[in-house]
């Protein structure tokens, strides 16, 4: 298990991404899985950095990445915790990916990518840990994803 705690500021994004890169290297995960995990972590962390805390008052962000071997399927579990305002990222309106360019709104794409590149997502407002966002990516995806 790997865990990083830092301030929820964009400058810390490379360190957060490095946690996933290291997991991928250590566990010999394939390039596509590693790419997807990087993208998921960037989108989830940037959401916290932009929305959890008031501007200029960044608070803590913790990222944990672990490989779960027991049970089926083998999977990577990412957990983000922050102490910002209660916010369920899964409540964001889904991006309308069928709309023409001129009707496209710029928001919602990050969560859309997280949903599509992972297999399970869960949000909980924990009394002590704050916002807890858990994302699971199976390493052997089902045939119909």
């Amino acid at each position: 298990m790997s865990r990083i705690e830092c301030l929820a500021e964009p400058a810390h994004l490379p360190v957060l991404l490095a946690l996933v890169t290291e997991l991928c290297r250590r566990e010999h995960l394939d390039d596509t899985t590693c790419h997807d995990l990087q993208l998921i972590v960037e989108e989830a962390c940037v959401n916290v950095m932009h929305h959890a805390y008031p501007a200029g008052q960044a608070g803590p962000l913790a990222l944990e990445a672990r490989l779960v071997q027991d049970g089926d399927p083998r999977r990577v579990v990412l957990t983000l915790e922050d102490q910002g305002r209660p916010f369920d990222p899964l409540s964001v309106a889904p991006a309308d990916t069928a709309a023409p360019a001129e009707a496209r709104a710029p928001g919602g794409l990050g969560v859309h990518l997280i949903r599509r590149l992972s297999h399970r997502q869960h949000y909980q407002r924990h009394p002590r840990l704050g916002n807890v966002f858990t994302i699971e990516k199976d390493l052997v995806p089902p045939a119909t994803h």
Binding site: Q38, L39, E43, A95, P100, A101, P106, L109, G110, H112
Partner: protein, 114 residues
């Protein structure tokens, strides 16, 4: 990420290298705006050396394609690599962007339309 802008007669090619992420997407947006400020509303984004884009890069592309089309031009994307293309597909961008197999075809598509 590195960006090289090459003006042609009636269009400009932006060759992008590396990853487009939350930390550098603003730079890409500025380079698109800079090209438009120079009078180029027909742009080709060469993605042959782009190995990653997050939603920040997608927003930059969306803004640029809207601006170019409003001005009577277009932003066309060339040589998208499989990993990035998968992200474009998931985001529904393959249906709103004109995508070409390489820069030559993207450039010629403007010539044919002229």
């Amino acid at each position: 990420m590195q960006i090289t802008l090459t003006p042609h007669d009636t269009l400009a090619v932006l060759a992008i290298t590396g990853s487009i992420d939350s930390l550098n997407a603003d730079e890409l947006t500025q380079r698109f705006a800079q090209a438009m400020d120079q009078g180029h509303v027909r742009l080709v984004a060469d993605f042959s050396l782009v190995n990653y884009t997050s939603s920040a890069g997608l927003r930059s592309l969306l803004g640029a394609v809207k601006s170019c089309r409003l001005a009577g031009g277009d932003l066309r994307v060339a040589a998208v690599q499989p990993q990035v293309n998968r992200v474009l597909e998931i985001a529904g961008f393959t249906s709103i962007l004109n995508i070409y197999p390489d820069v030559r075809h993207a450039v010629e598509s403007f010539t044919e339309a002229a």
